[in-house]
Symmetry: C2
Amino acid sequence: MRIDQPYLLFLGDAPDDLAAKTAAGIAQWRPEWCLGQLTLPGCRTTLGLPEMSIEDAAKAGVRTLVCGVANRGGVIGQAWIDVFVRALQSGMDVAAGLHERLVDIPTLAETAAMHGCKLHDVRHPQGRYPVASGALRPGHRLLTVGTDCSVGKMYTALAIEREMRARGMKADFRATGQTGILIAGDGVSVDAVVADFIAGAAETIAPANDPDHWDLVEGQGSLFHASYAGVSLGLLHGAQPDALVLCHEPNRPHMRGIPHHSLPELEACMEANLAAARVTAPATRFVGVAFNTRHLESTEAADLMAATAERLELPCVDPVRTGVGPIVDRVRADFPSAV
Amino acid sequence: MRIDQPYLLFLGDAPDDLAAKTAAGIAQWRPEWCLGQLTLPGCRTTLGLPEMSIEDAAKAGVRTLVCGVANRGGVIGQAWIDVFVRALQSGMDVAAGLHERLVDIPTLAETAAMHGCKLHDVRHPQGRYPVASGALRPGHRLLTVGTDCSVGKMYTALAIEREMRARGMKADFRATGQTGILIAGDGVSVDAVVADFIAGAAETIAPANDPDHWDLVEGQGSLFHASYAGVSLGLLHGAQPDALVLCHEPNRPHMRGIPHHSLPELEACMEANLAAARVTAPATRFVGVAFNTRHLESTEAADLMAATAERLELPCVDPVRTGVGPIVDRVRADFPSAV
């Protein structure tokens, strides 16, 4: 799966900003790919991009209409399908990260075939992945791991990519979830592959590379999440990370979705990730902690980061509030031959 | 998936004993279900069961023809299909654990539909599984975990089931792989479910039960196997084991299938499994070690087990050579309210 750019971002009739957070993520991290937005009547959010019809977008050279909005009830409605059909008729591909597949909608499948266009269902892995080999491969990889789900692992990896590139380093974000795939233009939803191939899919998306190249691999879930830890472990083994960044949101009352489970201590989470990672990456180490402090006052957040940095002897940042500069500093210090 | 008994075991044209090891496992652990065997010309193995034609088997009350033989080249040949068609025409279901699906062979799908019979592809999970809840559930569960793949985890769980039942305990083997499913009559191939649902599938196959009931859950892979550890961890979390048995084959030169990876020490493997299991089963503990000593002389094996038992303070057995009595003794001592 390789999604062609530039994009037109479809916001549909999104009732609020949250419904269009996928589109917002793409516009934030890949503004150079996003030529415009397309909204339907009733849409209550905007990305601040030029509003474009399918016809405008085709003239502007858009290659892919990206559905950046969640659908209510899990069903793709006729108003959306009409837009997707017109995009295909204009020669664009259509990409979406929904549970329902575009390819399962006969009108879309037929129109795409007729016009030689592609339908990308990024939540659903296409093709087969190999069983992981576990063999050491060249190039450097950094994986973001979490105390829980939805704590900022994708955001942190993207922020590190941007910071590394700004410093002239060779760096590529590697996507493992649907929003990440639309931002990267390719990747694999590792939680949707067959269980035997989790690590193999991770090896595939972050392959051997130059010795001074960094893959920033988007983590998934948490080794401590009772529902999804298998995905996290397979990804950890397949990513074969040289460096790890721990992502954490303070003050969560419990693990996401499972009220009877509390979050692990940072030290316990780091120790578990290090022990597990050593199976394929014997020299792996942590290079920082990325806090999501959106629910803290700024002084509270600063105090927490300072205290944690002293306790763990690691740079502690909030990618939104402080940026990830100190983590990239640590990477450069710890891996002097790989910068 | 619930496979009806009794069985007729199909051996096909198996070139040697190894090719029919699935059938041999079923005959060993469920002799009361196996009314006969059916071989084709060229078959070079036997289970010692009465040879039966499809017609004989139908008269004897066989409900399912079980394909207990591996197919060469991964393709189901016409000679096999002919037998399966006759079984369906005689009112039997057909079950197989092959990579190729019976349901994908049009003749079989049509014949099954015509005669109201089922095709069981036990390697391929049917239906959907829930996301794991991680909630504590009643009943007791023992999971076999391994230093590596193919070290005797299924055999050990079955041996413990048999020993517990012989002592009048309530015990059920819970299958997580294709041979185990044919032996149990149901179960889930956890390595073939979508990654997000590994733990949920494990919760499903070993559900809440009586406080004095033991599920003996068949382990898969190893937390230390670079290819498959995600499956092992999801299964560990979903099984929520009260008790663990470590399975190990001494003197393996490397992890199965990955020559550059050596096996973990027993202590390291136990520690990793305990730490991970505590996410859903805080009080979990090891109750024994099951060695596969087939490559050792009997005195060597006995010395190894005695030395390991002293070092780890756990009963050490070889389920084939010594039986698993000492492990069940330990279970009864450690869980006096659950026997």
